[in-house]
Amino acid sequence: MSSDAKALVAGHAAFAEGLVSAVSQITGQSEQFVTMTNTAMSADEIEERMRAVVREHGIHVIFTDLPAGSCTIAARRILRDDADVTLVTGVNLAALLHFMSHGEITSHEAAVSAAERAKGSVLVVGVPGGR
């Protein structure tokens, strides 16, 4: 984990670690991201751990995997106390890659832009019987 990290990626099992490893494979960098898993933790432990990571790394953006997930619930509790943190749930690889290249815009704007990229990157190709 890097002290330069700007975003936390959190989710079930090895979701966050896997996603950030993919970022690293594609770009050769992943220092912007800190990861955490919810494995084997109670809701209280997840929130406690997430608050500690946010504090330690000065996190302003949290990416989570699932809207109903326990990491998302914990992140929303943090947002209630900290107006400087933005949550993006339903994150995917396209979103993280886009977030990395946000340049000079604010973390919040970068998060919003990453969310739009995430939505736009989910495509259905082909139709039954089509060529």
């Binding site: 109670s42 209280d44 109903a68 997930g69 998302t72 619930i73």
Partner: protein
Amino acid sequence: MAVELYRIDDRLIHGQVVVGWGQPLRIGFIALIDDDVAASEWEQELYRMGVPPEMDVYFATVDEACTHLPGWQADPRPGIVLTGDIATMARLVEVCPEIRTVNLGGIHHREGRTIRLRYVYLSPDEEVALKRLADSNVTITAQDVPSARPIPLPDVLESGGA
């Protein structure tokens, strides 16, 4: 009976409940029995946020749950009744004796608890409470997701965390 699962899960409404159980059982509603959540609009909105629109979420105190339970059981849609701890489920069974099965879905590490399964940690008091519940003719099994094997309470209590 429309209630497919009476579950104890300290994460309350989360991925394993909404997706893990919700999708294969085609769950139409989740009833969260928690006195604190029932008293807080903000908490209710928090848990409602992640649930798909086709799934209803009901919030109730233990006392209110007993009143609502016949309606939930008569609901043609399958549902899940959820508590965050053993004590709340024990209170619920006490006032709603028609509950005959309880699922241990997630009781995680806390000081004073011993690991019994990867997702079940129990304190001595909680073990006593579960045995008392089982003695009142409630079948208790541990099962985190539908594809896992249900583990009967005696096996849970003898397990060292495998």
